[in-house]
Amino acid sequence: MRRPSIGTQLRMCSISIARTDAISRRDLVRLASSPMQVTVRVTGGAGNMATEEGEESAIFLASALGGAACEASVLAGATTIVKRPVPGICDECDNARMYCRRHAGNIVPHPGVMDVLSRLAELQAPGKTIGITPTISPPVYWGASIIIEDNPDDDFYTIVSDRTPVCVLVQFSSDRPGLTWDDEWQVCLDYMQLLRDEGSHRSLHLVYNGGQTTRNEVLHVAELTSVDNPWQVLLIEDSGREATALTNDLAWRKAHPQVTSCKKNELGSVLHEMGFTPR
């Protein structure tokens, strides 16, 4: 009997030879097994969102994608942002400014749009998901978490999420692990390209809030051309920051007709009309 899966299955991939080295073959098959031949990349804000807004965005996006009935392949980041512990818990926590093993249970994840994956997993949606995580600094296993970014100037640090079913942890090589957040969306594009070319998937970049990295991604995807299967982009107009800024950049919008936008309260019906949720 197959044992129920526990935690997050980690795939370690180096992209030093070719970008496609970050493709996990078994997860490619999983994504291609989603009931609908559509792939949705969810991208946008995390660290700079208020807690309530982050929580709301993940629930809202999972629901708009069909919730328990989501049949799409969904790609997003697979990280959790953790607020640093308040001083005084214990010496170990104070010295590291991160939760030690004994106090790892005190971690309160700071939610963001990437939590859409854990929400869909909780709902046991039939659509398959994969989380992509670049190692920003050399990954460290400490305090029951794998830490992939720890900038002392920030009041948060970033760990690999233990609530997504599968996380592809991408590094340049074992000797030079560090990547940038832009590598996350580039690896997502590699998966999406294969699913589009070989699995006849239609694709959508769903953009909620977001900062400079999200902007880089959207500007890049908007330039991709395809005669019969456009790289569709949907901006959530009232989600804030770059999603809103790009929505209002009318000259850029005019030059990129495959980029559309809608308000939060329209998202569910728009995704349905676009054919990314079940009929």
Binding site: R2, T20, I23, R25, R26, D27, L28, V29, R30, L31, A32, S33, S34, P35, L194, L195, D197, E198, G199, S200
Partner: protein, 307 residues
Amino acid sequence: MNSLQISYDDFFVPGKGRRVTVASDHGSNRVALVISNTTEGVPFSVLVRCGGMAGIINFAGATARSDRREQERQFYFFQSMFGGNPDMPFRTANFGAMSGGTRVLKSSLNEADPTGIMTIVEVPGLLHRINPGIRTLGHAPRTAETLGYEGDHSSFSIADEADAKVIANPDIHLLWLVQKNASDTSEWDGDVQLYPELMEIIQSTGSGTAAQVFWSGGGVTAKEIAVSLKYGFPILLPRGSGRVVDSMVQALDDAWHKVENVHREALEELFATPALTRNLDCITVIDSDGNGPRQGQRWLEQHGFAA
């Protein structure tokens, strides 16, 4: 029950070397062709097309030409086992059916009657005809120095043996050719280490079981049995189908004196390898005639290939 019953001559229409076009259009009627080097692993393009299948069965064994009686016996055995015989009703799940992906012709493509004949590689196409929900794949080593069009460019020839022409099987969805590299051809066992990786990947995604069905066969088939045992795939051996399958069944019965000399060395090596013999209980032996197809149906049910 799967409804369609097909006669041998309806399947292999005399004089028809059917068109095989090199293409990669998903969902079209053409055979998609993927060529990869052995060092590359299983190509992404092959994997994506395997998504969503309820398990996979590889059919391996004899591709040598036999007489018409034996060809028909094999044809109707598999037709009955997979629900194409109203007297043995059975409904299959929509799984992936895989084989060597070639078609052996009765004569050269340039001669008057380039008709295919029944060998194990035809089983996926036959099953797709019985249940159109079954997806079909072929895997073959590139053994010919050059690949080429033959017979007024009507078919794609992938090997040329002394007494037979081999073309890409026109009744499959995708043919995956494996070569050492662009300059070097492979031996006939060039894909034997690689296609089980594809089966293992499909099985590990939780899509269903990966299993092997053998029918007769020679030295390459013996290697395939060993590789399947290494992975622990369920294996079905129809007793009486011939050659290495019968030798394997005799070895399992400890009747080594009956094992054909030509297979003895390979099987002795297999039975001397603990990593293989500890998986011998993956093997199910059934009859190749009479009640064999019914026994095969029970095996299909046991491993999740029934609807």
